[in-house]
């Protein structure tokens, strides 16, 4: 046996004098395997009992396709609206002072803290044809509750905090001197916003909108009450998973769940790529 110098030997862990690696690493991996990996493996494997054609049919039959389309389109729209309004909220919270700002800041997190079922019944009561907002809208001929528009409203509610909370810290760290330099160089306020502030915030804005979107696609509790759940019209993908499960169609439910997961990963991956491109352009 020839002794390999310590420094050149391949190691998967750097040595440390701190105790407890084996215990904490072992516990972490075991816990993650039992709670996350094995259960999610079931989601990935179970659908294929139906065969590839069966999985395709389960995920793309007209009812499933309509549900997936509703979840992804309404989720995307809600994320866009939240991106714009979240930017305004973050800007106001960082750049301006006004009475009650601390309370407003705390309230931004309410959609995180309020149980989704509570949000769901409250939004329904608000937008139902006899509710305070719903009755006004009905007079104008707009129906929100029990239509896809209701789904959108609920998804805007659950996604509100994400963009604010991802843009806020970046905006706080943004150097005023750059803006002032732009001002000195004769940039108009709108040029400063478009050419200086927005590019700096864009990566955080995209990642916040991505999180809001991912949440919206899988959202269940706040949507099912206001949606009316009419198949092929206002039925969201997570509800269809539940319906399949109630009919003991495990593989079919898993197939739709897998399709949801695959689609959201694809979109989040695209957004990550977009962020990388923007970051590279910013450095060049």
């Amino acid at each position: 046996m020839t002794a390999v110098p310590l420094s050149r030997r391949w190691r998967w862990k750097e040595p440390s004098v701190l105790p407890g690696f084996g215990l904490t690493f072992g516990f972490t991996v075991l816990y993650l395997s039992l709670i996350v990996l094995i259960p999610l493996a079931a989601l990935v494997v179970r659908p294929w009992e139906l065969g590839p054609a069966g999985v395709w049919e389960a995920a793309t039959n007209p009812r499933a396709l309509a549900a997936l389309r509703l979840s992804f389109v309404a989720g995307g729209l809600a994320a866009l609206i939240n991106a714009v309004m979240g930017l305004v909220l973050a800007w106001v919270l960082v750049r301006y002072d006004f009475p009650g700002k601390r309370i407003i800041d705390a309230l931004v997190d309410l959609p995180f803290a309020l149980p989704t079922a509570v949000a769901g019944i409250a939004l329904t009561a608000l937008y139902a044809p006899n509710g305070p907002i719903g009755s006004v809208l009905t007079d104008w001929g707009v129906r929100v509750a029990y239509t896809p528009l209701g789904v959108l409203i609920a998804l805007i509610f659950v996604g509100l905090p994400f963009v604010v909370r991802s843009v806020q810290p970046v905006l706080e760290d943004l150097d005023h001197e750059i803006e002032e330099a732009a001002e000195t160089l004769g940039a108009t306020p709108f040029q400063r916003a478009r050419l200086v502030v927005l590019p700096a915030l864009l990566p955080a804005l995209i990642s916040g909108a991505g999180l809001a979107f991912a949440r919206a696609v899988g959202e269940y509790g706040s949507v099912i009450f206001i949606a009316g759940n009419m198949p092929q019209r206002s039925e969201i993908a997570p509800l269809l998973v539940v319906i399949q499960l109630e009919q003991f169609n495990y593989a079919g439910a898993a197939a739709i769940g897998l399709a949801m997961l695959a689609l959201s990963f694809l979109i989040l991956l695209t957004l990550n790529g977009l962020q990388a491109v923007i970051a590279r352009r910013g450095r060049a």
Binding site: K13, V88, V108, P115, V118, G257
Partner: protein, 280 residues
Amino acid sequence: MSAVRRSPVRGLAPLLIGVALLWLALVVLLPLGMVFAEAFRRGLDGFLDAFSEPDAWSAVRLTLLVAAISVPLNALFGLAAAWCITRYEFRGKALLTTLIDLPFSVSPVISGLVWVLLFGTAGWFAPLLDALGVRVIFTVTGLVLATILVTLPFVARELIPLMQQQGADEELAAVTLGAGPWAIFSRVTLPNVRWALLYGVLLCNARAMGEFGAVSVVSGHIRGLTNTLPLHVEILYNEYDFVGAFATATVLASLALVTLLIKSLLEWRFADELAATRRH
């Protein structure tokens, strides 16, 4: 950096503040107000009626029980994960960190569904469970498993960035001074992360008590047995007992408000002892 700055465009500040406040009022405050307004629609008596039902109290007890099991387990996991991720260098660390965040990007319905795929009547482990005479789906065990999966990242996510920031210097000094593993943990690490730990536990608990989608899939909605508070709200609502549903919902809404209050106090009072992204 001072927040008060001369506005670059005259009148822009009031306009933007107005838009932001109106939006928040419309999207967040109105639904919250609606919960309380509807709960008292038939006065105090109508409100109190909702709590005279034994099913309501069994839902409260079950919600507390599920949180009392799930939250400590996830806190323990968060501490272990943060210790091994921030105190050692090893390959696969990035993968481990990504896996911890995974439950946040999975639909709650899927977090319930996976347990049915494993332990349901046609699940992978159904023969084993039958042989042992144990049931998971439609029992408290199923509720706990679904809740643990949904709330797994909360504590770890607060501790990892903070402990990364703090570095291992103090623990290394303790080792040099001859401290044992337990002394290092209880006298160096724990005091350094206690507020972040509380912060994580607070958010974890709020989600554990309020979770709906995941527990709805595994619960079977057996009144008095496997109904948590959010599921009780749904049942009352679907039975057109709106006052009862909203009265029960006020308990959950109050929990959310108390959570936000404590969270804001922690951010305000112990900003230096929370991860950087939590300070505002």
